[in-house]
Symmetry: D2
Subunit: 316 residues, 4 copies
Amino acid sequence: YTGAEIVRLLANHPQFRITVMTADRKAGEQFGSVFPHLITQDLPNLVAIKDADFSDVDAVFCCLPHGTTQDFRLRNINEYAEWYGHAHRAPELQEEAVYGLTEVLRDEIRNARLVANPGCYPTSIQLPLVPLIKAKLIKLSNIIIDAKSGVTGAGRGAKEANLYTEIAEGIHAYGIKGHRHVPEVEQGLSEAAESKVTISFTPNLICMKRGMQSTMFVEMAPGVTVSDLYQHLKSTYEGEEFVKLLNGSNVPHTRHVVGSNYCFMNVFEDRIPGRAIIISVIDNLVKGASGQAVQNLNLMMGLPENMGLQYQPLFP
Amino acid sequence: YTGAEIVRLLANHPQFRITVMTADRKAGEQFGSVFPHLITQDLPNLVAIKDADFSDVDAVFCCLPHGTTQDFRLRNINEYAEWYGHAHRAPELQEEAVYGLTEVLRDEIRNARLVANPGCYPTSIQLPLVPLIKAKLIKLSNIIIDAKSGVTGAGRGAKEANLYTEIAEGIHAYGIKGHRHVPEVEQGLSEAAESKVTISFTPNLICMKRGMQSTMFVEMAPGVTVSDLYQHLKSTYEGEEFVKLLNGSNVPHTRHVVGSNYCFMNVFEDRIPGRAIIISVIDNLVKGASGQAVQNLNLMMGLPENMGLQYQPLFP
Amino acid sequence: YTGAEIVRLLANHPQFRITVMTADRKAGEQFGSVFPHLITQDLPNLVAIKDADFSDVDAVFCCLPHGTTQDFRLRNINEYAEWYGHAHRAPELQEEAVYGLTEVLRDEIRNARLVANPGCYPTSIQLPLVPLIKAKLIKLSNIIIDAKSGVTGAGRGAKEANLYTEIAEGIHAYGIKGHRHVPEVEQGLSEAAESKVTISFTPNLICMKRGMQSTMFVEMAPGVTVSDLYQHLKSTYEGEEFVKLLNGSNVPHTRHVVGSNYCFMNVFEDRIPGRAIIISVIDNLVKGASGQAVQNLNLMMGLPENMGLQYQPLFP
Amino acid sequence: YTGAEIVRLLANHPQFRITVMTADRKAGEQFGSVFPHLITQDLPNLVAIKDADFSDVDAVFCCLPHGTTQDFRLRNINEYAEWYGHAHRAPELQEEAVYGLTEVLRDEIRNARLVANPGCYPTSIQLPLVPLIKAKLIKLSNIIIDAKSGVTGAGRGAKEANLYTEIAEGIHAYGIKGHRHVPEVEQGLSEAAESKVTISFTPNLICMKRGMQSTMFVEMAPGVTVSDLYQHLKSTYEGEEFVKLLNGSNVPHTRHVVGSNYCFMNVFEDRIPGRAIIISVIDNLVKGASGQAVQNLNLMMGLPENMGLQYQPLFP
């Protein structure tokens, strides 16, 4: 789905044009027969990677499962091996790769040759938490995250567990303790903290196609108030086009960002003194995947960061 | 919802800018507090109609319930009174109004001052049937239509029948015989036929937000084949950007047009000799409402018809 | 899913007890690990058919794909071969089998040894049409059926087309002309008519788990009125527990029968004179599969027909 | 919806019969016209409370909004006034009322005349936490709860926020800090702890009709392990029909209890040492409302506690 989403986003991009599209099982087919919602687009046919002509290509989006391309998000080769179950096959590229959390690492991305696009959960979690940790406004212990994802996050693989009949009208947690986005989040938070951070992370799969909500339960540093958290996030993201801190007590809804590259967030008081609740929402396929990837490529190409990305959310 | 959809579509329109927004109950509020998915847009506050300054306004989209503004779709004043339950209050404007089925009445729309934007069901039905009737390829008797609509068609009014709990995971027919779109469809088909056409029309409400599928069961004129219908629709819509006849036996899915201004259609053989089945799908809020309205205003303003409308469908 | 539904229904059946459960890939597993919603039931473990001990078994429900067990619904061996793509392997049993449309063939079922349980579409279509055809109230030509099914009808096989992401929030037609339930319906209607009936049948898959709506567009025999159809169905099903003709202009909703063995139906006037619209709804997994099967077994065993089946619909 | 659910559950209850049904706006109507899924039930017409004949009534289920009947869950009259916004009008009954958390307070309920049926969130939270707190296995500080509810919890009132179009395909938090179930949960946990407990509670509304998941993040007492929590819950609920601790690492799914009176729960290790994650699921309308009410009335009447409640979950 992230590949199809790149195509959707590039359909109106004034500077990027798709010249090669590769596929594995579906090599030889027309893209419109695989994704009929894009039949109106004038696209090259799908070819096997070995048959692709890269001579006219300036940039490549890799939307392949980890293991097929390597994942370049984790800096620590050993951690990669532990979480992905095999040794990294391109460790030198791993070292070169820049982590593509745009609003946090904009300058590095601008000068990068290889960008590792963040995962959806890590994007929704790090955007609020990294600045708060850097400013030492929240404690590093007991960061508890309950996150909810739409089903597109699981891809288009034909699995019984992801059938309509198994998913509709329900919610369940999965991958408690063991989700692969955990080391990616901990890496980002640890760098911000300059010390090792261990998180509690419970992802849930809910009956929606797109959308992600991360709810973060944190302890504030001594003397810090919810208003301090709010003000710091406000000043951090003031000029940003795609990250929005909501006003007052407005609660972020996943349905208010679907189809767009926005991240909406807000901070709330907890009943337990000294604690705060932070909620962020994104479209997992856009800001959590293909949209952020286009945003990063814009930066790498010296284009305006929002080029081709000004889609408003599709509500209702 | 059609008003919010106009705002979404105009967000990226290079030539149109929103200068006045009116409201009734919500006058005085910010648009983003009524529709939080559009908080990022720089919009004027909502004002009561009586307080609106129209001095700087070149065009108006009316998205009000019938009765508040008049509906200008029905040419026959008496028919209006019969179906809408009150006399038309602007009969002279009624006469001037052009029916905005873009692909069918493009030239008239280009020169119109007042366009009556078609209903969603009528759009999805007339786009395939009008050309077939004009070419005398189908019989006028026994045109049977089973149509299915998403719930946005019912608007945002707080009604028990439209609660999530009453709608999710189900389908039901409604307004059999009595739906207000019937006279509009019959008017269009009768004009194409140059004789009175009476249709069988059964709308269904299904558990989706956006999308509309119309299934039309027709008898072909003597000697006509399904291939004749297909070829005629193909040549009719060959150069059109927004109306697409699918290849081969591909079936139109509502989800493949959601968020876009496209109408996808196809023609199928029936088991009963001499009959054909035609299926068309649109997004009821876009091609069935706000998208077609923008398309028409582009025409009226002498702009490229597709300006600001090149959104690809949001799938999944 | 029909197998699991049998287990659900038998959980409270006072006379039937499950002693053997067979499986193919999942042989050796506990039923509760395959269907966790039934972990509270005290059930035998799944065994391969070859290892099953049938010595203590009085009756068998076969919920296997056609081809694995044979399908016994079609009386004509040649028609079976044509629609199922292979010769029938138990033609002598085929001749013995009784078609299990309970309310229509109750006496035959009571004395049967082998009952072929009707398909879901055929159940929802034949319950209203068979009595009307027998009474010669509707014409046999141009019976047009637009039917909508929930996704459980497609079973639990892991197919891309049935993923949540591909199904949610949409509708599409499928199997136009070629659905395997067509010969079954035509067989039933032809027997009622005592002459060959050919139907127009367009099934649609909609984004709901359970539920089926069949909309039937018919021409009435000369002089017959909608009220005649209504009265005939009323008297036909007056004493029936599971088939209900709604009052007045009440429209059957799929969600009002989900989880139950009911079929709700009603008859409506069409705008085209001489025509009528009939709508019926069932839960495809209950009256359209496992519920009707239990109803039939009750009959075969000389028990009250409704035993263990008095579940009220689960709404909302 | 809780009233209709009582009717559904009592439809097969061997000992209870409905003799009076009251309504406010809908007095005078047939129940089946208000809830068409129950048209097959032989029920008394709805009457206004003032016209009801209670002479033949042994027990009453009150399913009215708080304020109409009083809510008897909070023992502290002042707390009631604070959370419900008005003084309690029947303080002497308040004192008499027994809190109906069946598995925890079975003996008290058996002898009660007036039972205050627990809220849905409080049921799903207290069933796992009360025994763990009583056994001093978890710390009382920093009990963090992220709960997700289906939309039936909001009732059948016609509110814009609960329209299908506003709810489908999304999730949002609501009532952070201020949900009325908070004092009820804190009352139950404080009694178990014999000291004041303050919780962090974030409810979320998700796009499903029925179902509730509560995720509880807790710190274990020194030296306690996840296995200790598991074993204690196992022995606590060993003989219970309606509360089930899942095996191994099986995750409770809301869809596996829908339509039934079950509560499924399990305990998981957290990545942060010393912490545990507890997940419980119920059907908010059954165990979270009407089912538990019937369970309690069975107890009060000296009947088997599970009478009429052995519905298996409706999956899928």
